[in-house]
Symmetry: C2
């Protein structure tokens, strides 16, 4: 469950490899404020469970910049909307240590009556680029270079991003678990 | 209801002028994510209502910087914790238009059975200073100069701040209303 069509496209592509079908539910969801995206996703999936039948996944993600104490973190969407990539680059313009990570959490419930929430975490370490590069992807993709690559997430096609991304890692963990449970 | 002792001290002082006594309830409260602090406070007071008897107020506040599209806005507390005043000044260092406003929302419910939420808003217009000034107050007080003053909120004593502040405006609106209802 997400309201973001970019996320949904990524998730659909990743899960199709596991023969899992995904449907986007556009409910007016409440997300709580918390420094930990694990806790946000956990609360969201429990709320979703009261409104949607069948198995649900909720995904939450954030970009965590080391020298900025984890900022923008759990509020990456709001901060992308207000500041965008440009201002983040300005914040970092004389910083040597540009270490950052993208984190994704997938929270899953089986059905309306099973209280257990399963949490799957995906982390990609990397750094913030010196300038925006690429026009693919969304959010902070144009300024994040994962460690394995010398390109930003906005310079690689969706199929390639889905090999490396934090969201892909978390969703693949989920899918592998789901298919044997 | 707030978990912030600085806010509580301010609120207590302001409400004492109206012969209203305030008690701080430290409950593990959930705050939702929303771009509007009115909606955040409204949701919080409704949740508080299910756990605390008697009249409740919940206060939420934020600093909204015009050139940054309202950033840090509803997430001012998190952004103060991660970025602090220093990084906000860096973001603005070559900006001429430093217009900003502090907003406070007080949400009130009468008791556990009355569904109505009353909302009181306080806004102080001003600008972001060129450097941090003063060591009083809390949060972004050292970089906010209200229009009526040539000093930041961190350069004036609590008694004086309580004449001008966004929180004071909202709380006084509430107190005046409360005493005739």
């Amino acid at each position: 469950m997400t309201g973001n069509p970019n996320k949904f496209q990524e998730a659909k592509l990743i899960l199709s490899e596991y023969n899992l079908k995904l449907k986007m539910v556009k409910a007016k969801m409440i997300e709580i404020q918390n420094d930990e995206i694990e806790i946000i996703a956990n609360t969201s999936v429990k709320e979703a469970q009261t409104r949607v039948s069948g198995p649900i996944i909720v995904e939450d993600a954030g970009l965590f910049i080391k020298e900025l104490n984890g900022f923008p973190g759990p509020y990456s969407a709001y901060i992308h909307k207000t500041l965008g990539c440009k201002w983040i680059l300005k914040l970092l313009d004389d910083l040597e240590d540009r270490t950052a990570e993208f984190k994704s959490v997938v929270a899953h419930t089986k059905d309306a009556t099973t209280p257990t929430v399963k949490i799957f975490l995906g982390v990609v370490k990397g750094e913030i680029s010196r300038e925006m590069r690429g026009d693919l992807g969304f959010g902070f993709d144009p300024i994040f270079i994962p460690k394995q690559l010398d390109r930003t997430f906005a310079e690689i096609r969706l199929e390639e991003k889905c090999k490396y991304s934090h969201r892909a890692i978390a969703l693949k963990e989920f899918a592998s678990w789901y298919n044997i449970n």
